[in-house]
């Protein structure tokens, strides 16, 4: 494993969980719902994913369980905020706390057990090409899924009727309702999609990134994902750039330290946040475009009056 290749591979593993969770939250927010419970859904995905993979021995069943875990949390959020019309910010924060506590309870018996690592897919011939092979053709399935999701959500949101409905619900739920769309149902679907992605991201952590279960193992990645969504101005491709930029600066910070250049580690640790924010603010400099892409009804509760 050469130096540069190793760094690029590490950057991909560091960026993938951020991208997975953020892309789900992006869709949720596009429908006008602010779910601050990403961290809670992620950590539930991680514990369910690890638990299922450990008990059945199949990482792929683990992935499915991770998705289910995230969706279970998202479903509770949807019932609270959509059916019972609770405050989204408060419910989201509560969801994070619940997720962290509940996952600790579920995962108690999995602590200290090494799990099976999700294997890399190796495509014959292609993955043996030096340098490019392992990077492009030797990743695990979740990395490919995360990339595919970026293109799929871009396509669905901006090129299909379904996407138009989601965006209209997010921009003006009263008009969408007047046109006859079921705002609540659309938002339910988008929240569940967000939960599935967060669960997938959690499963990535406990199956591929560090194949083990430790309480609180998400360590704040859900919050980074949330921030990335806002700074990408709700555009999937920018989100991907942001996630990879964050991962790259994060890993380069560690790399520079190991080189011993004497740059303060505290500064290097804060650099990913700084660089990502600055870069995304610059690329979203067009104010009109930003305003157009911001879901106008985000965080607002919708109660149909008739």
């Amino acid at each position: 494993m050469g130096g540069t290749e190793a760094i690029i591979l590490t950057i991909i593993t560091a960026s993938t969980p951020l991208l997975l969770a953020a892309i789900g939250e992006l869709v949720t927010e596009r429908s006008g719902v602010l779910n601050l419970g990403v961290e809670g859904m992620m950590v539930m995905g991680a514990v369910c994913g690890f638990g299922a993979a450990y008990t059945t021995g199949s990482p792929y069943l683990g992935i499915l369980a991770g998705i289910a875990g995230g969706m279970f949390m998202a479903f509770m959020f949807a019932v609270m905020t959509q059916t019972l019309a609770t405050n989204q910010v408060a419910t989201g924060l509560a969801l994070t706390l619940l997720g962290l506590g509940l996952s600790g309870l579920i995962g108690e018996s999995f602590v200290g057990l090494p799990g099976a690592k999700l294997e890399q897919i190796s495509i014959p011939f292609l993955s043996t090409i030096p340098f490019i092979g392992p990077i492009l053709f030797g990743q695990d399935i979740l990395v490919y899924i995360s990339i595919a999701l970026v293109f799929a959500t871009t396509y669905v949101l901006f090129k299909t009727r379904v996407g138009l409905i989601i965006r209209s619900v997010g921009d003006n739920h009263n008009s969408a309702h007047a046109l006859g769309y079921n705002v609540i149902a659309v938002r339910y679907a988008c929240i569940l999609f967000g939960g599935a992605c967060s669960g997938l991201s959690g499963a990535y952590l406990s199956l591929a990134y560090t194949p083990q279960w430790i309480e609180n193992m998400t360590a704040g990645r859900g919050w980074i994902a949330l921030a990335l969504v806002v700074f990408s101005t709700w555009l999937p491709k920018r989100l991907a750039i942001g996630a990879y930029l964050f991962g790259a600066v994060w890993i380069m910070g560690l790399y520079v330290q190991a080189q011993g250049f004497g740059i303060p580690s505290q500064f290097l640790s804060s650099l990913p946040y700084l660089v990502t924010i600055i870069a995304l603010v610059i690329i979203s400099g067009n104010k009109t475009l930003t305003r157009v892409n911001t879901p106008a009804c985000i965080g607002q509760t919708f109660v149909p009056d008739r």
Partner: protein
């Protein structure tokens, strides 16, 4: 009529109080021991080991004690409430197990003079506040020696949490151990600025391995770096508990925190009424620092590690005995001396041979 009502209410109240008094009287026979943890019990590292100590106390004393713990208590002012609540609930001995609980512990202790407090890794005592810590650097010296023997590239990667004296002391001890075998040994240090972030610790391990380190040592709490080392076939050392399950083929040994003997001794002292404040800094000899079995290494390396362990236990050897030169060329300890205790506790310099600069 109103008077009668008041009288009846008073009787009802006093009746209600009686059973509770009896209840607490029987509970008073038991010594209540409380613990405050900084992390989750399930971290399989620092907090996990403290909880093992708590369970050892329960096992040893059975019905004589009742233990309770509060986990994930943030360091700083928040801790004060958690500690005070334990004291109010009747705990007579309270262990606060992280450095950042120092001031909160002292504050609560001044309000509860008949409760005994034990603060881990701190340096301020009071009449009812004792401090305790472990000489983990003894273990770090031994693993440094093993690292230099096992390394082919002569470069080890070291994952640090925060540049505080405890961690710096560990790095220096590791380096001194390595230099005793190979004077040109190199150390690459990465700070992750967290005690516990499995993902980031794993990233640091990957980066270090990518840069030619063929030994990974960590001063962070999760099992992730060891697991990454195992996956890449790189030798590594566990932290806080025996983590062999995460790298069965590459864990060389692990520095194990063992709080059980200390917790049992101190609980016994409170039961006997002989508890006194003080500072305990225990090492391998006191069974507070343990070494997991030496594995995955040739017999001669193992024999030497065991010999060093024995010398440290007998007191014949001290990891920080001179001559030791600091990175800037000044003398830390002359031949025949050991580094002064104040310098040990507040260590803020690297030994000569470490290329990196210590972050401020």
């Amino acid at each position: 009529m109103k008077k009668w009502l008041g009288f009846a209410a008073a009787i009802a109240l006093s009746l209600a109080i009686v059973p509770t008094v009896i209840g607490s009287a029987s509970a008073a026979d038991k010594l209540k021991v409380g613990f405050i943890y900084v992390g989750p019990v399930g971290d399989h590292g620092w907090t996990y080991q403290h909880d093992q100590g708590r369970l050892a106390v329960e096992n040893k004393f059975g019905d004589q004690v009742e233990t309770t713990f509060v986990e994930k208590v943030a360091e700083g002012p928040d801790a004060e409430r958690a500690i005070e609540r334990l004291a109010r609930k009747g705990a007579k001995l309270i262990f606060t197990t992280s450095f950042g609980y120092m001031e909160p512990t002292l504050k609560v202790a001044s309000r509860f003079p008949d409760v005994k407090f034990e603060h881990a890794t701190g340096y301020k005592q009071a009449d009812n506040v004792a401090t305790y810590s472990s000489r983990f650097y003894e273990g770090r010296y031994i693993i440094g020696q093993i690292a230099a023997k096992m390394s082919k590239t002569g470069v080890a990667g070291y994952i640090g949490s925060f540049p505080i004296p405890e961690v710096v002391r560990g790095i220096n001890a590791f380096m001194l151990g390595a230099q005793s075998v190979n004077p040109d040994f190199k150390l690459k240090i990465v700070w992750v600025n967290s005690w516990f972030d499995p993902g980031k610790e794993a990233d640091a391990a990957k980066v270090l391995i990518g840069q030619g380190a063929d030994i990974i040592s960590q001063h962070t709490d999760s099992t992730a770096p060891l697991q990454i080392a195992g996956e890449n076939g790189v030798y590594a050392f566990g932290q806080a508990s025996d983590m062999i399950a995460f790298a069965p083929k590459t864990q060389l040994t692990s520095i194990v925190d063992d709080w059980s003997s200390y917790y049992i001794t101190r609980t016994q002292a409170v039961i006997d009424g002989t508890w006194k404040s003080g500072d305990t800094w225990g090492g391998i000899k006191d069974l507070m620092v343990g070494m997991a079995p030496y594995t995955n290494m040739p017999a001669d390396v193992k024999a030497e590690a065991e010999a060093t362990t024995a010398k440290i236990v007998s007191g014949e050897f001290h990891p920080f005995q001179g001559p030791i030169t600091k990175q800037d060329g000044s003398v830390a300890a002359k031949e025949g001396e050991t580094v002064a205790i104040g310098d040990m506790l507040g260590m803020n310099w690297y030994v000569k041979g470490i290329d990196d600069q210590l972050p401020n």
